[in-house]
Amino acid sequence: MVSGQDALLSQMRRGTLQYCVLSLLDTEERYGFDLVRALAEQDGMVTSEGTIYPLLSRLRRDGLVESNWQESTSGPPRRYYRLTEGGRSALQAFRVEWRRFRDAVDHFVERTAAQ
């Protein structure tokens, strides 16, 4: 792939990844390893797993998620992340915008491909 396209894909992933994280936390709280595993299951979403942690740290400092430590049955305590009210409304706002954007791009890109 052209390097410019690589850079674009990496930017798109970067811009949307945080909302994927917020979405994963929408229904349940999760600890870091669990979150990373869920993201990595989708091909192309995560290139290096470790970069999720700075993202989580930033989301926490921005007040979109909060965390607390919980005992684990199989090892040391885990830090669990959950959405805050702010995180929930940020996610909701993104969903609306994302659908609009996705539909608009699809409208052109998919139509051209179909011809």
């Binding site: 390097s3 690589d6 850079a7 674009l8 990496s10 930017q11 811009g15 870091g32 390893f33 990373v36 990595a40 290139t47 290096s48 797993e49 470790g50 970069t51 942690y53 700075p54 993202l55 989580l56 740290s57 930033r58 199989s74 090892g75 040391p76 885990r78 830090r79």
Partner: protein, 213 residues
């Protein structure tokens, strides 16, 4: 679990720690703690751990430099060169604009709004996060009033230098004789040069300051 795989993990965490050396201690601790927890969870999930398993696992987590770059988001150092205009925190962008206003007001604020204009510059200087306390002191003390001060002195000086005399009496001049006026001239020039130099220095520092996140 063996000594050699433990060493791989320890080396990895050491490198991560080094890459994060410039971050506040609490951030660094949090990230190292989370990633070392991640490694422990991943290793616990392995049935029969081999050195290759651990190497693969660390590869998937990624280069510590990439993790540090992500932590310093908005900063450069990406694995792939990002397009221009990285995302900047709005608060930061706003701060930068006010920084410029601060410098302008420090220099010529006193000319726009006597005294008050310079004070506005000082207030903006001190609430900015761009400069260190030392630099803020420098900006405040050199020179109070900015360019308004030498201009004011010049105006006063010129009018004080006027000569006058009674009709038929001896002509008397006030001020402006010999060494005194040279010293005043040097002082006034210095008062012009110093604030300009200080503001130029602060502007340079501003452009050098890396964007903290």
């Amino acid at each position: 679990m063996s000594d050699s795989t433990d060493k791989l993990v320890d080396d990895y965490l050491d490198r991560l720690e080094q890459e994060l050396a410039n971050f506040p201690a609490a951030r660094r601790r949090e990230l190292v703690q989370e990633i070392s927890g991640h490694i422990a969870e991943a290793r616990a999930a392995l049935d029969d751990e081999t050195e290759a398993d651990v190497r693969n696992l660390l590869d998937r987590i990624g280069d510590p430099a990439d993790i540090a770059a992500e932590a310093g988001m908005g900063a450069q150092a990406q694995a792939t060169p990002p397009p221009p205009a990285p995302v900047q925190a709005p608060a930061r962008a706003r701060g930068s604009g006010w920084d410029v206003v601060a410098l302008v007001m420090l220099l010529i604020g006193g000319l726009i709004l006597p005294v008050i204009g310079w004070f506005i510059g000082v207030v903006l200087l001190w609430i900015s996060e761009t400069w260190s306390t030392g630099e803020k002191l420098l900006g405040t003390l050199l020179v109070p009033g900015g360019l308004a001060l030498p201009l004011f002195l010049l105006t006063v000086g010129t009018s004080a230098n006027s000569c006058g005399g009674d009709v038929g009496g001896p002509i008397t001049c006030t001020g402006g004789n010999g060494t005194g006026s040279v010293a005043v001239a040097v002082l006034v020039i210095a008062l012009f040069v110093v604030p300009i130099a200080v503001v130029a220095y602060l502007a340079r520092r501003r452009s050098q300051v890396a964007v903290p996140t």
